[in-house]
């Protein structure tokens, strides 16, 4: 369980995190979403006590991180992939972390096995690819078999196999009853991994909602329909109150009724359907909709001023 209350952090005059409150519960994967520069990494650093909040409070299992008797046994954190001395071997890196929390060398070899780095355990980490470094970082989070785990952009630099592996690992860890908090800017990835998302923009909380609800409440939800008698179907649908758009590829996008209602309507005309496919808006779209007003760095708008923080929802 992670609980943040009114977390606020400035770097100089820049407000990085603003009055951020959320809670991350055990047993599910909670995604942490936000555009770049939204304050995700800062928040994660505050959770593990690396950065001190200017105001507010964050606790892990009801305690401040600093007061945890055995930090690695209670919290595993992957904050940045390349946080390893390039001259040190993977095994030595894990060993020095393990020793600080009285974790045996047997466990070091175990976690190297879990992340698939046993064969290169004695090679210097400086030679590792970003993907291997990510795996080493993940191995470090597993050392103390902790109940609470944080991952900052864990799939960065991984190939599709690696991404699937991380996704399954995170879901498996959550199933075991752990608290899993994972940040990503890959919204589509979160749709597959997270059960719930905490969304921030410009350091402020935008929403904390289950991922299904985020997708469902998006106005982008529609049904794609193909039919040889599209014109008749289109008229019938519009009479029934649906909004339709004829797409360039010849399909019809229908907003309003769900696929069941459309199918029944088509049968009652009757009209033959070649396709009836509900399209959930990608999380990307749902996310863009939510954070529209809070993107820190607008691209391509030339001299357009960045919106003031008051403009953020």
């Amino acid at each position: 369980m992670i609980e943040a209350k009114g977390l606020t952090k400035h770097y100089g005059s820049k407000l990085a995190v603003n009055q951020l409150s959320f809670s991350v519960r055990p047993g599910v994967v909670t995604g942490f979403l936000g555009p770049n520069g939204a304050g995700k990494s800062t928040t994660m650093r505050m959770i593990v006590g690396l950065d001190a909040p200017d105001a507010g409070d964050v606790t892990v299992n009801g305690r401040h991180y600093h007061d945890l008797p055995w930090p690695l046994h209670e919290v595993g954190a992957l904050l940045e992939a390349k946080a390893i001395h390039p001259g040190r071997s993977a095994r030595a890196h894990l060993q020095m972390l393990a020793e600080s929390n009285h974790i045996g060398l047997k466990r070091v070899d175990e976690v190297l096995e879990v992340v698939g780095l046993s064969a290169v355990a004695r090679q210097r980490a400086g030679k590792f690819s970003l993907g291997m470094s990510q795996r080493l970082g993940i191995a470090a989070t597993l050392l103390g078999n902790p109940e609470v785990m944080l991952f900052d952009e864990p799939v960065n630099g991984l190939d599709p196999d690696g991404i699937r592996w991380v996704r399954n690992l995170l879901r498996g860890l959550a199933r075991e009853g752990r608290t899993i908090f994972v940040s990503s800017h890959l919204m589509s990835e979160m749709a597959l991994t997270a059960d719930e998302v905490v969304i921030i923009g410009r350091g402020c909380l935008i929403a904390q909602i289950p991922i299904d609800q985020l997708l469902a409440q998006s106005s982008q939800r529609y049904v794609r329909v193909r039919s040889p008698e599209l014109a008749a179907l289109k008229t019938a649908l519009e009479l029934a109150g649906a909004t339709t758009v004829l797409e360039e590829d010849g399909s019809l996008s229908v907003r309003g009724p769900d696929e069941i209602a459309i199918g029944e309507l088509a049968a009652s005309i009757p009209v033959v359907l070649h396709e009836l496919a509900p399209q959930s808006a990608s999380l990307e779209e749902a996310f863009m909709e939510l954070t529209e007003d809070s993107i820190e760095y607008h691209g391509g708008s030339g001299t357009a001023p960045v919106q003031s923080p008051e403009g953020a929802k």
Binding site: V48, L50, W70, H85, H93, Q95, S100
Partner: protein, 271 residues
Amino acid sequence: MSRTVGPTKALPPGRYGISGLLASEWTKLRSLRSTMWTLGLTVVLGIGISALATAETRAHWSSMSLGSRLSFDPTSTSLIGVFFGQLTIGVLGVLVMTGEYGSGTIRATLAAAPRRALVLAAKAAVFGFVALVIAETVSFLSYFLGQALLTAPAAHTTLSSPGALRAVAGSGIYLGLIGLVALGLATIIRHTAGSISAFLGILLVLPILVHALPNSLANQIEKFMPDQIGASVVSLHQSDAFGAWTGLLLMCGYAVVLLVAGGVLLVRRDA
């Protein structure tokens, strides 16, 4: 990953502490090839330079003037190489800390052990101990080798000669303390280049600047400079400088002040 956890997961008794951190720092130190290289270089070059200096003196002994022969100090000559070690031990003291900042390891370290003052204490203890052992090795081996090379008729000393043991053991202690001064500076500055510059500035440039001051003032300040303290530790001749033990105590003070200042900043600053 078939392990299960839950709110009832049993933790070890007590709390992480200095014993684990000492083991961790020892692993960090010995797992870097650069550390081993630097320590090896300190030993080899330290002894080598001392041997060169004494062998050179022996070779020219017959052509030296009586005055030079009388003022020749076999002990300090054989310890010349130890002072070369100031540079390597100092750089290592810097790298032990800035290497963590440069690579980001510091964040893994501090997440594993959030009591930062304790982490610094463990680091200083492990590095200080290793530096001291290496430094004493260099100074004793340099001394024995140097004295062996100073065959008759050249003057030589033994450890039982007045002040010799103090000079040999003292220069090792001096070198260990120089390492801790560098570690303290690096904890404050956090960047490799800046820390090494500051260290070399204090060791090499500051004495030159002080020397440029008016004599009366320079004489007052010079004895506080680390290089002067080092010189007084090995020298058997009396001078205006502090005595060997007073000087080493002062060096201890410098190291403690810098490490405490570094520790306070380490605790207060974001990592």
